[in-house]
Homo-oligomer: 202 residues x 2
C-alpha cells in the first residue's frame, strides 16, 4: 500500500495514537488503513459415501484437487458464501449443514471455514475456475494431488470421523514452517501438538 | 474508495472479466481492490458463576457493556486474537476454551467468533478502550445496557445453556431489519426462525 484510497496522497507506516501496531496512515487526510485477515468459506459436498472435489483451472496450484471454497463476500453470511462458492466452482446445489473445520492460517492471513453439506442432485459440472468436478470414494481420493494443506487436513479428519459417524467441529491452526515453506504444522485445539508435515503437491 | 492504493490513480467500479460482482478497479495499473468481511474475535471470560464484561470508553455505544472483543489482526490465529483482545480491553489473562457463538452480521460485513474462556486470575482492570471492567452474576447482567445485539444474543444463549451444563457451538446470522435499523433478526442455524427484536441500548 503506497497511496491513500480516500484522497490519493502518499501513506506512511507508523503506530497510531492509542494503538500498538504499525498501520498505513495517510499523510494528508489522516485516514488509517487497517488490513485484516480474510474468511474463506466452502463445502464438503456429500453424496452417499462420496464427496465432491474440483480440479483447479486457476493458479495457485492449477490442476490440483480441492473442495469448492473461496473468499467470503460483503453482504453475505458464512452459510450463503459456502453455498455460493459451491455453485460457482462446481455448479453444484447443496444444503449447507454443520460447520466442520475452522482453521486459522496466520502466515497468509486467512480463516478457513468448511461446512459439511448435502448435495441436492447430480447436476454438477466445472465452473469457470475448475477443469473438472467429480465425486470420489475415500479410496479414490488423490491424496498426492490435493491443492492446499487446509483441504488435505480437513479430508483426513473427515474420513477418520466418518468411521465413528460423529463430526464434531475441529478448530485449529495451520502454520507454515519458518525455515521451509514446503512444510507446515497443523494444530487442532484439544488435539495435542503435531509435527511438521510437507505441503501437499510440492 | 476513490484512488488506487498501489499507484495513486483514480479507481472506477465495474465487474472484472470472469467475476460476477462490481469491484473497485484502477484505471491506470488495473489492480482490482477486493473488499471482504472482517472477523471479530472475543471471549466470554468465566470466573466461577460469573462472567466478565467491559463498559465501553469509545464509540460506538460509549458507556454500554460488552464482552471483550475486537478485529482479528494479521498474523494471528482466532484463539490468539480472542486472548489478545481480552488482555487489551480488560487487562485479563484467560485460557481460551471452545468456540461458542459464530454469527454472521452481513449488514455490517462482520463475522463474530466468541469463545468461552477461563479467567486465570482476578488481576483485571479497564484497558484504554474500557471505562470499567467487572464480573457479573447472571442476575446482575445489565440487559438494557448491552452494547451490541450479537453480544446480547450470545449472553442470552449462554445463560440458557448454562442451565444444562452443555455449550454446543451456536452458529447463526444477525440481520438488521431493512425498514428499521433499530430492529434485527437473529437466526441460529438449526434453531428455527425468530422474529424481529429491538437493538439493545436503542
Amino acid at each position: 500500500m503506497n497511496y491513500c484510497s480516500q484522497c490519493g496522497a502518499e501513506v506512511g507506516v507508523r503506530v497510531p495514537e492509542g494503538d500498538n501496531r504499525p498501520r498505513h496512515i495517510c499523510g494528508a487526510c489522516g485516514t488509517i488503513h487497517y488490513q485484516n485477515p480474510k474468511v474463506v468459506v466452502g463445502c464438503i459436498p456429500e453424496w452417499e459415501d462420496q464427496i465432491l472435489l474440483c480440479r483447479r483451472a486457476i493458479e495457485p496450484r492449477y490442476g490440483l484437487w480441492t473442495l469448492p471454497a473461496g473468499f467470503m463476500e460483503r453482504g453475505e453470511t458464512t452459510h450463503d458464501g459456502a453455498a455460493r462458492e459451491t455453485l460457482e466452482e462446481a455448479h453444484a446445489r447443496v444444503e449447507v449443514l454443520d460447520l466442520y473445520t475452522l482453521f486459522s492460517l496466520p502466515h497468509i492471513d486467512q480463516v478457513y471455514m468448511l461446512f459439511r453439506s448435502r448435495l441436492l442432485d447430480l447436476g454438477f459440472g466445472p465452473g469457470a475456475e475448475s477443469l473438472e468436478v467429480r465425486l470420489f470414494d475415500e479410496a479414490e481420493v488423490p491424496w498426492r494431488e490435493i491443492a492446499f494443506p487446509v483441504v488435505k487436513e480437513t479430508l483426513k479428519i473427515y474420513f477418520a470421523d466418518r468411521r465413528t459417524g460423529r463430526f464434531p467441529l475441529r478448530l485449529g491452526d495451520i502454520v507454515r514452517a519458518p525455515d521451509d515453506p514446503r512444510r507446515y504444522r497443523i494444530r487442532v485445539h484439544g488435539g495435542g501438538p503435531a509435527g511438521w508435515v510437507p505441503v501437499p503437491g510440492s
